[in-house]
């Protein structure tokens, strides 16, 4: 696979994240997440093609099953069961969110992060884009009020980190990847149970309503 195609993939990843920021509907953000995961599996496929290590192929299949199929399925079932089509609005208004995203991406591409992004010189642009996507996903967690969208943003953060790791060449053993995927899977199970309990108890996923837990 050629560098421009990989750049395109990471670009898609970045765009899905931005889309997550903007979307109001939960279902759409779930879809965006599955697109994102599909991009990640493609990136794994690319590294499998390069290294030819059989384990990586198992890992690709496994991530594909978990992230692209199972996780969205869980989320959709959750949305339907508690019929919450609209995710609650974000903390910052739309224009300010966009400005912050712009600032973050500019920062990721800035000179300051050059030593980080050109660990592998050819992937310099990809790495800076992956770094930008890490920052944006982190900002997504902070920005979203609703529990489900926060879970999705955390998963997307994990995706962008994995992409960054692969392109930065930190990819050592496939077993590490399998381990990560496994605990992501377990994490999703727990998160869904947790979120369902919140909804049952609080009636809505809005995080601010949990303030009274503080005192």
């Amino acid at each position: 696979m050629s560098i421009p195609f990989l750049q395109f993939l990471v670009g898609v990843l970045f765009l899905t994240l931005v889309f997550n920021h903007l979307t109001k509907k939960n279902f759409l953000s779930v879809v965006a997440f599955s697109v994102q995961s599909f991009v990640v599996t493609l990136v794994f496929l690319h590294s499998f093609l390069e290294t030819g290590n059989i384990y990586i192929f198992f890992m690709v299949v496994f991530t594909f099953i978990v992230k692209v199929i199972l996780a969205p399925m869980f989320f959709v079932r959750l949305i339907n069961r508690y019929h919450l089509p609209f995710s609650v609005s974000t903390y910052l208004s739309m224009p300010i969110t966009l400005i912050v995203i712009a600032v973050l991406t500019f920062m990721a591409h800035s000179q300051k992060f050059v030593p980080l992004t050109n660990i592998v010189p050819p992937h310099q642009i990809i790495l800076s884009l992956a770094l930008a996507s890490i920052f944006v996903s982190l900002f997504l967690i902070v920005n979203r009020k609703e529990a489900l969208s926060q879970i999705i943003s955390i998963l997307s953060l994990e995706n962008s980190i994995v992409v960054f790791a692969i392109f930065a060449g930190l990819e050592q053993s496939p077993s590490l990847q399998i381990g990560i995927i496994f605990n992501i899977f377990v994490w999703i199970m727990i998160a869904t149970v947790f979120v369902s309990m919140i909804y049952k108890h609080f009636g809505s996923g809005d995080v601010t309503s949990m303030n009274n837990l503080k005192d």
Partner: protein, 683 residues
């Protein structure tokens, strides 16, 4: 056979004895007597083997280096280094452990049914084992592990009698202070590690010169705070009078007889051995701390009427005296007088041994009294000498030894400390001379006040008439308790008698230090067994003193028998008190006895005397029914040091509560910001 004992397997066997004792007593925790027998048996055999092991290494003069199994981390190695100093401390620990275990075997019976004896046995053996590891470990991390083990096991022993809320409060205070101390110790070791890249004491010692002097001073301050808290020097002593009385008596005997000595061991090890070329002000600081601790320790002991708190304050006083010896050793060595430094070290070590002996004897005595009387308040004792003659006699011997009265061992170690301080005055110039003069003054006044305090303690407990009904039906403590107290009392005599031989032994221990390799001590042992200082400055002979005391006492006894009238009758009347009938309330109490001293030192102690009178009928207020005088001494440290500290910490924590927004998103944004800042700093 001796090689097999004094070797790695010997020490390993010693530790396994305690470990088996610990886990065995846990195993039997269902049945109290069986757990008690098991744990006491292993504690006694372990301590006995410890005494054997250490005396053989001391006499043999060997040094042992060995490490247990391999650990995954490269910096932590279970390496042990038993040189003469640590085998001396093993000797002290196991000697006191031996008697406390024998005593404990009898004493623990009154805990049957109330608390689980298995747990007590487990914690007790762990404490003894960890004490041994603390004094032998030569890797800082391994040392810290053993130190933690010791602190935790002693904490649980302090709160063992948990029905009394005071004990639990004392336990928590002890825990906080210990961990503050340990934090400082860890800081000191980290600083040392930063410049010498290793935690092993040997490597630390070799590369001590790499550490820049400003960092070395910092290490000194941290180590002094850390080990000072454990040893109980004055500003950090507040846990000691609270925690020691709370523990069961044989444990408080171990804690105050031996556990605070681990602080002293590390002070000696660090400042005289590992961090050697040390600046002058370290020695002076230790000297001043020793002087202040001894004087204030004995003053606070005067105000106490709880018997165990009184003994705990005396531990602080004796630690002060030991620090006087060590401080003078450090000062002399930096001034280039190794012979006097060796003398100071010998005095410190000798007083450590003596203090371990008579302090544990006194605590065991106090324990058997409390065991019978079920209260720690001295005002309710009185007249116990007629009900508990053996305990009374051993307590008398203990109090004579601790106030350094001649024939006993306390006198000879204090004599050596005096010689070190006299030489300080004699040979040093202005500012240093005045520090030594003040140290000698504090030692002199401490001796006098300690004597007064123990007259008060002994008379309030044992003499005169019983001041409460409880005294009537007390009976002598059980056989194992009496045996251990009697042997400890005779030990004070024996150590006193062989003090010159022991001084010779301490000289050999001192010479095992690298800094004292070639020096001979200022006070040497001359041919006919008496201590002789080099320039004939002073000499005293222990056997000579014993002989003189014995002969003259005998002659006086026979003389009066000769002089008195043959047909002399001795009638038995009641005490003459100018005709009034003497009720027990009229005799002097502990508070009454100490009142004059407390009023003399009132601006140091700030006593507050509160009189409350109860009248027959409140309106007329003519005929007072009862009048009570209570004298309370505010704990200066609480008011002026710890309470403001606490307020400051509360203030900060209140202000910092704002961060706790309660909103999940806010927390994640903190993480996000932290990440950005970190990246900025790193790249």
């Amino acid at each position: 056979m001796i090689e097999s004992i004094v070797s790695q397997s010997g020490f390993f066997f010693l530790i396994t004895l305690f470990v088996m004792g610990a886990f065995g007593s846990l195993f039997f925790h269902r049945n109290d007597t069986c757990a008690n027998v098991w744990s006491s048996f292993f504690a006694i055999s372990g301590s006995f083997f410890g005494v054997l092991f250490s005396s053989l290494t001391l006499l043999g003069g060997q040094e042992l280096f060995f490490t247990f199994g391999k650990t995954p981390f490269f910096i932590l190695a279970f390496s042990l280094h038993i040189d003469m100093l640590s085998s001396f401390f093993i000797f002290v620990i196991s000697l006191i452990g031996l008697f406390c275990s024998i005593y404990g075997f009898g004493y623990v019976k009154h805990f049957y049914g109330k608390y689980s004896i298995g747990a007590l046995g487990f914690l007790y053996n762990i404490l003894l084992g960890s004490l041994l590891l603390v004094v032998t470990s030569s890797n800082a991390l391994f040392f810290l592990i053993a130190w933690e083990l010791m602190s935790i096991s002693s904490y649980f022993l302090v709160v063992y009698d948990r029905n009394d809320p005071k004990n639990v409060k004392a336990g928590s205070l002890y825990l906080i202070m210990t961990y503050v101390g340990t934090a400082f110790i860890i800081l000191a070791f980290l600083l040392a590690y930063k410049y010498t890249a290793s935690f092993d004491f040997a490597v630390l010692k070799a590369s001590a010169h790499l550490i820049p002097s400003s960092v070395k001073d910092l290490i000194f301050i941290f180590a002094m705070i850390g080990f000072g808290t454990k040893a109980g020097i004055i500003p950090f002593h507040i846990w000691l009078p609270a925690a020691h009385p709370a523990a069961p008596s044989h444990v408080s005997a171990i804690m105050s007889g031996v556990m605070i000595k681990t602080g002293i061991y590390m002070i000696i090890r660090l400042f005289l051995d590992v961090l050697q070329p040390i600046p002058l002000w370290w020695g002076e600081a230790v000297l001043i701390i020793g002087a202040v601790s001894s004087l204030l320790g004995v003053l606070y002991a005067m105000t106490e009427h709880d018997i165990k708190r009184l003994l705990a304050y005396h531990s602080i006083e004796n630690i002060g005296i030991i620090l006087l010896g060590i401080g003078s050793a450090m000062t002399f060595y930096t001034l280039g007088m190794p012979t006097l430094a060796l003398l100071g070290l010998i005095a410190g070590l000798f007083h450590t041994l003596n203090h371990a002996l008579f302090k544990s004897l006194l605590f065991l005595g106090a324990g058997s009294v409390i065991d019978q009387m079920h209260t720690k308040n001295m005002e309710e004792y009185g007249g116990l000498i007629k009900y508990m003659p053996v305990t009374a006699f051993t307590f008398l011997v203990g109090s004579m030894a601790i106030s350094a009265l001649p024939p006993l061992n306390g006198f000879f170690s204090e004599w050596l400390t005096y010689q070190a301080l006299f030489q300080g005055i004699n040979q040093l110039s202005f500012s240093l001379q005045w520090i030594f003069i003040l140290a000698t003054a504090s030692l002199a006044f401490t001796g006098g006040l300690a004597l007064t305090c123990f007259v008060k303690a002994f008379s309030a407990i044992f003499l005169a008439r019983p001041r409460s009904v409880e005294v009537m039906h007390t009976k002598e403590s059980s056989i194992p308790m009496q045996i251990s107290m009697a042997v400890l009392a005779s030990l004070t005599f024996i150590v006193g008698f062989f003090s010159s031989f022991l001084t010779h032994m301490f000289e050999k221990i001192g010479q095992s230090f690298t800094i004292f390799q070639t020096t001979s001590s200022f006070v040497s042992v001359s041919s006919d067994q008496h201590l002789q200082s080099a320039s004939g400055f002073s000499f005293v002979s222990a056997p000579g003193l014993f002989l003189l005391f014995g002969i003259v006492l005998l002659c006086v006894f026979l003389g009066t028998r000769l002089l008195r009238y043959r047909k002399q009758k001795i009638a038995c009347g009641n005490t003459w008190d100018c005709g009034t009938t003497l009720s027990p309330r009229m005799e002097i109490t502990a508070t009454g006895f100490a009142r004059s001293i407390v009023l003399i030192f009132k601006n140091v102690l700030k006593p507050s005397i509160q009189q409350d009178v109860e009248y027959h009928d409140a309106e007329s207020r003519y005929i007072p029914k009862s009048r009570a005088v209570t004298m309370r001494v505010e704990n200066m440290y609480d008011i002026y040091f710890y309470r403001p500290l606490q307020k400051m910490i509360d203030g900060i924590s209140l202000k910092s509560k704002v961060i706790q927004g309660g909103n999940v998103n806010v927390y994640i944004s903190y993480i996000f910001l932290a990440l950005i800042v970190a990246l900025f700093i790193v790249l």
